[in-house]
Amino acid sequence: MSRFGYVAPKSVADTIHLLHDCETRGERAQILAGGTDVIVQMRTFDREPRTLVDVKYIEELNRVSIEDNETYIGAAIPSGVLNENQKLKSLYPGLLESADLIGSTQIQGRASIGGNLCNSSPAGDTIPALIANAAKCLIAGTHGTRNVPVEDFVTGVGTNCMTRTEFLLGLILPRPRPRTQDAYLRFIPRTEMDIAVVGAGVSLTLDHDRVCTHARVGIGAVAPTPLLVTKAAEALIGTQCDETSLQAAADACRAAASPITDKRGTVVYRRKVVGVLCYRAGVIARDRILNGQN
């Protein structure tokens, strides 16, 4: 195809049809949500004409629903809109903070968590926070929908598990158990508007004796994909998340990391910092519980 096209389907079925038609004709289609990555790429290193499929008019991609068992966050909702949802912020403060770290006010008026995930950068800030919250991706395709755990969604730098005839509807997060909190931290050499050198998200559940019963740890920018670090969680479960166990979790993150050296940081530095951020995010999540934020 030699020209760009723009379509704004109103339903999931219409979108699947469009994607399927493009695929049959051998033409390129690209899903457009906030466009803060897609349009930049289109104007710089990836100028190939394609049909842009704007999914912002589809109800399923714009809905937030908070149920007793789970929370659904539509893939195309701008982070600025999500951060105005106080209920969501109180349930998943770390996830909302991770979205709030991305870009300026202007970018946050457009950029979505679903887009951050589908861009599939190793350094996407919301991904470790979604992993920590055990989020699942709800993906629509020609044969209906399927669920994929976030930690299995990104398959490489800029690639993910979706086929060309599938697209992301939203994210399903389990409702946090009582006495559960999350936190996300990233390191950047300035105060805002930068790409993570390292990121770490932690979710903890403590019982009334302050003993950790559930934990999940996600890390970013230290491997080709964001990672779930099961061994870091195991180091915390059964402990009071004290210095010794948090240090063990930090060491597990360092062991899981396989970073590269680039202009943002070296292998040695990233490996050190991912442990530090896991430790500190663990302290924040723990203290949020102990200070009675839920």
Binding site: F4, G35, I39, V40, M42, T51, G80, T105, I107, M193
Partner: protein, 161 residues
Amino acid sequence: MSKVHVELNVNGQPEEVLCEPQQSLLDLLRDELHLTGTKEGCGTGDCGACTVLMDERLVCSCLVLAPEANGKKVVTVEGIADQNGLHVVQQKLLEHAALQCGVCTPGFVVAAKALLDKNPDPDETTIRYWLAGNLCRCTGYDKIIRAVQDAAQELKATTTS
């Protein structure tokens, strides 16, 4: 695939434009509607010179495709002043000499007004974070921040008096 028909409202005025699918809202405003107050800086969403309000949310118009603006309400720097004169944010930027070359100024005006509409009493840190997506290579920012603080004071004084 042919041109896309876009109907939108710009500064209270209904507009109809035919545009290319890959054209930006910034192109539409400047090249089709000849509203050249909105500037192109980087073209990649980093500098904020092209900031406009779309359905009451700040966006970089360079990162909005023109067809995406269909049915939307857009406010550009041309829509900030009214018949009575400059908006207080514009007046204070002048008084504080908070601009030199002026390329970033339309973006700062739109963004700062949006901040004060949302939060009439922002502290300095809030102002600096809110305006972090607007880059200025001339002023060093301090004068801009002071102008916005002064504008907030004045708006407060006029609404309470």
